[in-house]
């Protein structure tokens, strides 16, 4: 859709609203909002914060894409969280165990990760399609189960390695790593950004150019209309869930293959949930999700920067929450206004100047 007003106005409004609200919170807590916002802005020009923001955004972007694929089909895949962690630990173990030449090794790990993510989404998908069990319930349960699976797998008695007091998988050999893009002082950008970009393009292409994408969107909007058009809602639900799981499987890969090379007990959690918010912010559009991911990562970084001037980092959390809430509301308002405007426009285009009512049908 090329309607820029519809696309850009809501997030802009949401950000302004979030800034106003957090200003109030800052004033109440006795801090100066201007100083806070200045610090947040300045962090981008400081040390390697800008690069690490982008790095984090890459991870969020993948999580956002995974969630968005589900949203396209009206599937609420809360399980991105569990899927990515399951995939991460499996890929880390398999990746460390495999011995392959450089590029092949990386590809093999990515395939394992996508496969594992999809596998972890399979059960909820089957339950939804064949038994009508809500994917929300099943994926939440699987999110919780993944703790046990990760803990089990990284136990030294299974595949784990103990260093210091930390547990992790064994290290992936250099052939299985994705080299970063060195930016000197500013740090190193994840090489995965290329893959993430390609994935975003692939997502866009799939949705707008392929039959599968069309069927996915159609089925997501109206199962009945899609069925009449020859699209099986079951098949689409299954496909969306598995595809979402496969992309979720990649979420931890930038960090695993670009920085950590192991999946540890202390590995960051919660990317999956962030992904849901990011997809919501980006309205499931590949560029929108990129914007949402950057914004979210920026706010995450701000939380730490704000510590340095003694402002509680919760301010950043408040902003994140407000933005998501208000962006949803704003989109809905703008959408309704646009629909009404369009109906008026259509009405004028009709030769009689009015949409025909049923009553004009020549009744007695």
């Amino acid at each position: 859709m090329i309607n820029w007003r519809t696309a850009l106005l809501p997030p802009a409004l949401a950000i302004i609203f979030a800034m106003l609200l957090s200003s109030v919170a800052l004033l109440i807590s006795g801090a100066n909002p201007l100083e806070a916002f200045a610090t947040m802005g300045a962090q981008l020009f400081h040390g390697n914060t800008a690069v690490s923001t982008v790095n984090l955004a890459i991870v969020y972007y993948l999580a956002g894409l995974a969630a968005a694929i589900g949203f396209q089909m009206n599937v609420f895949n809360i399980g991105v969280e569990g899927q990515y962690r399951f995939a991460a630990v499996v890929a880390a173990i398999v990746g460390a165990w495999m011995e392959l030449p450089p590029v092949l090794h990386v590809i093999a790990i990515l395939v394992v990760a996508m496969f594992s993510g999809a596998l972890y989404a399979l059960l909820p998908a089957l339950l939804k399609v064949y038994r009508g069990v809500s994917e929300v319930i099943t994926t939440i349960m699987l999110n919780s189960i993944v703790f046990g699976i990760v803990a089990f797998l990284i136990n030294p008695e299974q595949f784990g390695v103990l260093h210091g007091n930390n547990l992790s998988t064994a290290e992936i050999a250099p052939s299985g790593r994705i080299p970063g893009i060195p930016l000197g002082e500013a740090g190193t950008l994840f090489g995965f950004i290329v893959i993430a970009g390609a994935l975003g393009y692939g997502y866009w292409f799939m949705l707008t150019r392929t039959r599968f994408g069309f069927e996915l969107k159609a089925s997501g909007e109206s199962k009945t209309a899609a069925a009449a058009g020859g699209v099986s809602a079951r098949k689409m639900t299954l496909a969306a869930m598995l595809l979402s799981g496969a992309v979720a499987g990649l979420v931890a890969m930038p960090e695993l293959l670009g920085r950590d090379y192991v999946y540890a007990m202390t590995a960051t959690q919660g990317y999956g949930f962030t992904g849901l918010a990011v997809a919501l912010l980006g309205r499931n559009h590949p560029a929108g999700i990129a914007f949402g991911a950057l914004l979210w990562a920026f706010l995450d970084r701000s939380a730490v920067s704000l510590e340095s001037i003694g402002i509680p980092s919760e301010i950043a959390t408040i902003m994140q929450g407000t933005i998501v809430l208000s962006v949803v509301v704003a989109y809905e308002i703008v959408r309704r206004a646009d629909l009404a405007a369009e109906q008026r426009r259509v009405g004028r285009a009709g030769r009689n100047g009015q949409p025909a009512g049923v009553a004009e049908g020549g009744a007695v």
Binding site: F147, G164, N165, M265
Partner: protein
């Protein structure tokens, strides 16, 4: 009438294995489950040996403190680290620098950013609390060679300007195990771990060995964890700890040792309700204000003196010789130990001191990993 009779019967039953102590209100005599004699206590029993730091001036040092999840006020090792810094500020005139808690699910990069931010603001030394910082410290320390870093609970980082502050948790927990063995009258004790990580397993290992050293096979130890590795909620879930503890008590355990951070409160509450005893962890929990209501059940606490280590570390940095610090804060340097603030412990301090000496002397070796 029938009820009274039944109760009498009960009391008799629970007296256990023809042990003489059956008369006393539903349980055996403390110490009745102990089968092995304690090693001899040293002369001059139980005096605190505190390191004396002469006149140290740390006024040109600004101390940065990067907390683990929870931060100041967690009544556990974050607080202990903060207490060490506070004392150093008071005693050595050091300047208090940045202090910042980690968010619940923050990324690795956030930790790095925090450490960097502190280094750039001129904090030196910077103390990172918790092994979750290991990776970040390993990465940031080389970039700031003139800044000293301390890493609590982890010794895996091999950098010149990084000093590990690690503890022999298993040794302190061993003594907790001995205390439990002496205090149980049901010949069954329990361990409640917060999260099943290698670190917490050290507490479990020491505790189990301590119980065994005193009671042999006569005392059963039940060990339970609240959450698996990776799910840190186990350190902050008193309700869950309470349920688990209650079930352990109902199964016969009457002394519970916890290594579960803020969840410990639930353990003590269950003990107070179920007529059992609790053993605290990290700091002297008998004295903790938040636990004042249940302090009577806290017979002792296994001490992990993060505050002392941090204090000593700051002194050593000010003195210019952080490498002289002990490689591991164990019983011999009083880095770990047990608390004596609850008078109920007095009757067994001699035995505890005996075991302590045996460990310090190397007569008893304590393993870091639990059996099985």
């Amino acid at each position: 009438m029938a009820g009274v009779l039944a109760m009498a019967g009960c009391a008799k039953d629970s007296g256990g294995d023809g042990n003489q102590a059956a008369g006393e209100g539903g349980g055996g005599e403390p110490g009745s489950c102990v089968t092995n004699e304690a090693p001899a206590a040293p002369e001059g029993n139980g005096e605190e040996q505190t390191t004396e730091h002469g006149d140290i001036d740390a006024s040109d040092h600004k101390i940065g403190l990067a907390f683990d999840v929870g931060g100041r006020g967690d009544a556990s090792f974050n607080d202990a680290a903060a207490a060490g810094v506070d004392r150093a500020v008071e005693d050595f005139g050091a300047e208090k620098g940045s202090e910042s808690p980690a968010a619940g699910s923050e990324s690795e990069a956030a930790k790095e950013q925090r450490l960097r931010q502190m280094a750039e603001q001129g904090n030196n030394p910077i103390i990172a609390v918790g092994f979750a910082y290991a990776e970040a410290v390993g990465k940031v320390a080389p970039q700031y060679p003139d800044t000293e870093f301390a890493l609590v609970d982890d010794n895996s980082v091999d950098e010149k300007n990084v000093t590990p502050l690690v503890f022999a948790e298993e040794e302190g927990s061993f003594l907790a195990g001995v205390a439990a063995a002496y205090k149980t009258s049901e010949c069954q004790v329990g361990f409640v771990g917060g999260v099943q990580t290698p670190l917490i397993q050290k507490f479990q290992a020491g505790f189990e060995q301590g119980v065994k050293a005193a009671g042999g096979d006569n005392i059963e130890v039940k060990s339970e964890y609240l959450t698996p590795a990776g799910d840190i909620s186990g350190f902050n879930d008193p309700a869950k700890a309470n349920v688990k503890s209650k079930s352990m008590i109902s199964q016969g355990s009457d002394v519970l040792f916890h290594a579960a951070g803020a969840s410990g409160q639930g353990v003590f509450e269950a003990a107070a309700e179920g007529d059992a005893l609790g053993i605290g962890v990290d700091s002297d929990q008998y004295k903790q204000k938040t636990l004042a209501d249940v302090k009577d059940v806290i017979v002792t606490s296994m001490l992990k003196k993060v505050d002392v280590a941090v204090y000593d570390y700051i002194a050593a940095v000010a003195d210019g010789n952080p490498d002289d610090l002990p490689e591991r804060f164990d019983l011999s340097v009083d880095g770990v130990g047990y608390s004596k603030s609850n008078p109920d412990i007095e009757d067994i301090t001699e035995e505890l001191e005996g075991y302590k000496k045996a460990i310090v002397d190397g007569d008893v070796e304590v393993s870091e990993t639990p059996e099985g």
